[in-house]
């Protein structure tokens, strides 16, 4: 279950990858990083519109592995925060 707006600051702030818990899936909306860095992520499969599933993590939850486009890529929290996602309605149970 996802608790989205309650504890992630202002309600209008979009959800990011950091807000996903293990097993949660979401659709990437956009990457809030400079062009080159965003491109690098896109080449690894982080393209807007793609489904991303949060996986296991290092102890303490950072970095976390994400399943995207057939691969598993670990991102640090500071990077995951920049990936804004939409959570499909069916999962939004707040």
């Amino acid at each position: 279950m996802l608790q989205l707006s309650g504890n992630t600051g202002p309600a209008e702030q979009p959800v990011t990858l950091v807000d996903l818990r293990r097993g949660d899936a979401a659709i990437l909306d956009h990457i809030d990083l400079p062009g080159e860095d965003a491109r690098r992520l896109m080449e690894l499969g982080f393209l807007p519109g793609t489904q991303i599933t949060a996986g296991l993590s290092a102890p303490g939850g950072d970095p976390r592995v994400f399943q995207v486009d057939g691969s598993e890529i670990a991102l640090r929290r500071e990077t995951a925060r920049r990936l804004k996602v939409r959570v499909p309605q069916s999962q939004r149970q707040v």
């Binding site: 080449e43 296991l56 950072d62 970095p63 691969s71 990077t79 920049r82």
Partner: protein
């Protein structure tokens, strides 16, 4: 025509004649994303006919090899670094781009490309096909990991894929040697230029991915089910408790092996050199030449070869960790801790290796893609207490620290002193990393990305070739320089002649130098004898023991270690002894390390910076220690 045979004006950086003495006319590049199995394929088709060098001026390693085609002709194969795209941003991508477009003067443009893609993740990997096919070079699209694809129920229509891409396609398993005949067929055949149905705008990543997806769909690509075992193993290896425990066990296993299990091997190599040296010595008449051969060359070479068992064992470990896929998990677990000093998870294993020897540690930083992180790791690695410091620490501690119990019989003062020195190196490394990473080597915002490959069994062939390759690099780079320096030192200790004979060491060139630098090292509590030892120890740290042995007139310093301890005790104050320990903890007294840093950073800048910094720190540290103790 751009793909002619004679038009490459510049000669290749590495001479690579074929077995018949002539350079093969076919030059083929292997390219693909990381972990697609490029190296495995390259090893398959070239076997032991390989060479490794650096691309001139950059840190990217260049692997070239010869493939023998079924008709007996040979092809020159170059393994390019793993890349996801050809956009030249990182050094790796720049090299791949420049070689493939014929923009590197030192490497002629290849006439054909083997594009290796992972068939179990084809849709994404096909993205790289777009820029490669756009080059217009004849290309064989290789879908690797056929075994895995089959086992996990994936499928792809090769005919249709070939039609879409306008290039031949081969489904192979590089690991099992399956489907290689298609590769040879391509290399021996007419090699037509690719005629893809359509290509996307290359700068537009989403468009490229769409195109790749479309091509995959046309070819009925059905991705395999996710790897069951990888999920299961990750549940253990990345478990918050069990994962950390296993990580700890791996670290302990590495330590235990390189310090405990390998020691008899190293002793064996050492005595092999001693015995063979004595044997050669007794076979030759007493002469200067004999002394040069035995005391210079033999001991110099021996001092490097002694580390070979340790280095090989380290590379075996790193090879197993990397090929099995665990290395990425270890990096993930270590990342938070390493991030605290501004580094990242991938720096962990190299730094751990540096406790054995900085040379293989620095060579293994190649797994760190981020250049600044890699340089920072290289710069701090020599602070880790390598095994060459151990005999020096032992000698001085035994000579100066009386063994009194600290906690019962378990922990004595000598052990505490030793552990303290290990800790000292570590702490200075951490501080240095912090300083570097918050100043000159600040990483900017480049995101840290770590792909988690599937777990796989490492293969003996891959491990064997890796060991061979790394030991050649180790022996060649370190061995040649060490040899040169030991010969120079030998000469310095044997000139100028007095009455046609080499002088006593205090009157030799080395002795003169020792006395000349005495004013500079006096503030550290060292006399000229220690000075000579310091100078020779810049070749390799443990050399100081042999040098001091020679100065104090002992033929076999190992056997006379008791006497040597006494002699040193007479010549050094306790303050000077502490200063000497600190000096050894901080100084970069190792020509091999300087040489390998130069190689790995492609220039003299970083080794010079590092050498200066470490020497200055060693001097200051020793100075402060001596005056605090006085």
């Amino acid at each position: 025509m751009s793909d002619c045979n004679g038009c490459s004006a510049a000669a290749p950086a590495v001479e690579f004649p074929g077995r018949k003495g002539v350079a093969p006319t076919t030059r083929v590049a292997v390219i693909g994303p990381p972990n697609s199995g490029k190296t495995t394929l390259f090893n398959r088709i070239t076997g032991l006919r390989q060479k490794v060098a650096n691309f001139p001026g950059v840190t990217v390693e260049q692997h070239t090899g010869l493939a023998v085609l079924p008709d007996g002709r040979e092809a020159w194969i170059i393994d390019l670094p793993g890349v996801y795209s050809l956009a030249p941003r990182s050094e790796d991508e720049q090299i791949a781009h420049d070689v493939l477009t014929g923009n590197r003067g030192d490497t002629p443009k290849p006439q054909a490309v083997l594009l290796v893609l992972d068939s179990t993740n084809l849709a994404r990997h096909l993205m790289l096909a777009a820029p490669i096919l756009a080059l217009g070079i004849p290309t064989l699209v290789i879908l690797n990991m056929a075994d895995d694809l089959r086992k996990r129920g994936g499928h792809v229509d090769l005919k249709e894929l070939s039609l879409q891409l306008g290039a031949p396609v081969a489904l192979i398993s590089a690991r099992q040697g399956e489907g290689l005949d298609r590769v040879y067929e391509f290399l021996a055949g007419a090699m037509p230029k690719p005629t893809p149905k359509e290509l996307p705008v290359l700068q537009d990543v989403p468009k490229c991915r769409q195109w790749a997806g479309h091509v995959g769909n046309q070819a009925q690509y059905r991705p395999p089910v996710p790897p069951k075992w990888t999920r299961r193993l990750d549940a253990i290896f990345l478990h918050p408790a069990a994962g950390v425990l296993i990580f700890g066990l791996v670290v302990i296993a590495v330590f235990q092996t390189i310090f405990v299990y390998v020691t008899p091997l190293m002793d064996g190599v050492k005595s092999l050199f001693a015995v063979s040296g004595n044997w050669v010595a007794s076979a030759l008449p007493e002469s200067l030449f004999r002394s040069l051969l035995i005391d210079g060359v033999w001991k110099g070479v021996g001092s490097v070869i002694v580390f070979l068992p340790q280095v090989l064992m380290l590379f075996l470990f790193i090879g197993i960790l990397e090929d099995s896929g665990y290395l990425a998990r270890a990096a993930l677990i270590a990342d938070r801790t390493m991030a605290k000093v501004g580094l990242q998870g991938k720096s962990f294993i190299p730094l751990l290796s540096a406790y054995a020897c900085a040379v293989p540690a620095i060579m293994s930083t190649r797994t760190i893609e981020n250049k600044r992180d890699r340089i920072a790791t290289i710069l701090i690695a020599p602070f880790m207490t390598c095994s060459a410091r151990f005999p020096v620490y032992t000698l001085i501690i035994l000579a100066f620290v009386p063994n009194r119990p600290v906690i019962g019989a378990f922990l004595g003062t000598q052990t505490v002193a030793m552990v303290g020195l290990y800790a000292l190196g570590f702490i200075v490394a951490v501080i240095t990393a912090r300083v570097l990473k918050s100043s000159v080597l600040k990483s900017g915002r480049t995101p840290f990305l770590l792909e988690m490959p599937s777990y796989r069994w490492p293969t003996l062939q891959s491990l064997g070739l890796r060991l061979l390759d790394r030991s050649v690099v180790f022996l060649r780079r370190a061995g040649t320089v060490i040899l040169l320096v030991t010969v120079i030192l030998w000469i310095a200790a044997h000139v100028p002649f007095v009455n046609g004979k080499p002088p006593a060491i205090e009157n030799s060139l080395a002795g003169t130098i020792g006395r000349t630098i005495e004013p500079a090292i006096k503030p550290l509590g060292f006399n000229w004898k220690i000075g000579i030892g310091l100078i020779t120890s810049f070749a390799a740290r443990e050399t100081i023991i042999a040098t001091l042995g020679a100065i104090y007139g002992m033929d076999d310093p190992d056997a006379q270690s008791q006497d040597l301890q006494k002699a040193i005790h007479r010549d050094l104050t306790p303050g000077g002894a502490v200063a000497l320990l600190i000096f050894f903890a901080f100084a970069m007294q190792c020509v091999s390390t300087v040489a390998v840093v130069r190689r790995e950073t492609a220039g003299w800048k970083w080794p010079l910076v590092q050498f200066t910094y470490m020497s200055a720190l060693a001097y200051l540290g020793a100075f402060v220690a001596f005056h605090l103790m006085a």
